[in-house]
Subunit: 153 residues, 5 copies
């Protein structure tokens, strides 16, 4: 039985991060979390590109354009959708999640999924470095692990 | 680390707006909001085309026909879905959101997402220029920012 | 700024209607509503084809076969899904709505969306000519407006 | 105005049935219902193939393999998803419904949709021949009607 | 009437398992369950490859890469999504279920679906070998049955 694992080593990876500005207090923390992971796993600073988009709906288009360039071994997508009075968050959360997943499959590129989808601002901050870890860091870890794993398959 | 941003400058963009007539009191305000943003970001008036469709379900078809022409650097989609007694709004909201997103990816064109999906008419008006900003203006801003961003990637 | 509108003139259109028989009391009224609109917008009677299918799940297949013939400038889909004890209606409503929308985009053909998705039979009849208009008529109006609009784009 | 209808005559059709074994008390009744309809509409016994799969999730793969053979004029898919403590049933019901619909469109083949999606075992049995008809029989009727209809279009 | 069945015999199959590490207490039990089934159905140990991914979102990408290799007659996907305070689990459960199903259809390969989607950790453990069987074992059984079935069609 052969077992394959990825490694938390980004020293030979080029990685692009797409981060949305909406709910920036949250998304800037997600970005810090992701960048911290890349630094600690050895990614050279000039191997990281960061692309800023207005909101979560815009993340997939930027991600797909970056995937098409075939210059990156992984992408990381960061955004924050906070429930309001309406169902808007559901349409958005569902669409953006599905699109990010589909782009990863289409181009065979790992995409760290760092979309915080929550009911309250407090829950969002909890997931951006306060109490429940940092989803941006988690997404970066997943992206690095997957990029190194794919090389072994 | 390279960081990329879009700009709020539409002076060299051709943009098409698809707007639905259903709940016209709301959608006409969304259109005003979008047109105001285009004017304030420098878009020449003759660089803007507006296409009127009956309802939200018809938005994606018009958007896809416009995207196929490859004459526009961005599209803006404006509509209003207000919850009624049934689940009709959910099927519609989900379908239209997913279709607009997919058309953007298929043609690599930014599409400002200005679909107001709400439970009450009051909530709709709140998002069309009363209390919670104007989703048409937001969609236009996102479209302009993305169109200028894509040129830098 | 160029503005484009459709017209409520079906005098030069060939149109196919797909109508399901399930909940026929409702769907026959939707069909009457749609045919009435076609008549009043000038569509010659021999330019209208009607295809009867058993239930809503069967609507997309018939619609796609008709779209593939490229003989029609618009389609109209009519059906009625009434909530029962289970979630069956949701799977159906979601699938049929998405499929009709996707077929329209795939073939670039307007499809009037006349699917009544309701909780009670009373709500269904309300939308089939009693109190809240006739969704079949609405779907026909949308199809005609879109078919004439597309010619101008 | 041309009107097209299918016929309840399967005497010249080859039909494959995919039936899942999970909740077999229900699905065996659905199969009986479907086979009874095929017999009563004239389908020769050697024109019917039955493929047994473990659960509902496996139905689409078997259906697609059968559709690809282009030997059948219709398929019938039978399964039973009963709500448990979790959301598992929703993911499954949604996926399987969408996939069956999509396979029908991809290959232009009618697929009778006989998926019972219920909250309780009692509701399942009600739809498998007890009180509310037999969804397997309904699916077979729809498949036969659609297969004969498509020949006329 | 021809009836086709699969067999619980994996002695001539090469099978890859994708298992996520998130909620590892659960997923390691799912993996044990799946491996036990493969052993008991005769699969040689060197015919099984196991690929470890960080979380459920990463399962489809690894599965698709493995399916593309065309070295395996079946895949098995194992993961555990436990509901938290937010809707995150729904977006994930829906996306991962749909993607696994779609990959199976795209490559014509059976994929045992062993995704535990639950509200509580207790429910997860119940489905990982405590009270309600082992979903990893179920997924392996389904994969083996389908792989042998497809050879007969």
């Amino acid at each position: 039985m052969k077992e394959s694992f990825g490694k938390l080593d980004s020293s030979s990876l080029r990685i692009a991060i797409v981060v949305s500005r909406f709910n920036e207090i949250v998304t800037s923390k997600l970005l810090q979390g992701a960048l911290g992971v890349l630094r600690r796993t050895g990614c050279p600073e000039d191997a990281v590109d960061v692309v800023h988009v207005p909101g979560s709906f815009e993340i997939p288009l930027a991600a797909r354009v970056l995937a098409q360039k075939k210059e990156y071994q992984a992408l990381i997508c960061l955004g924050a959708i906070i429930k309001g009075e309406t169902d808007h968050d559901r349409y958005l959360g569902s669409r953006v999640t599905d699109a990010i997943g589909a782009i990863g499959l289409e181009f065979g590129i790992p995409i760290g999924y760092g979309l915080v989808t929550v009911d309250t601002a407090e829950q969002a901050l909890d997931r951006a470095g306060l109490k429940q870890g940092n989803k941006g860091a988690d997404a970066a870890l997943a992206a690095v692990e997957m990029a190194t794993l794919l090389k072994t398959l």
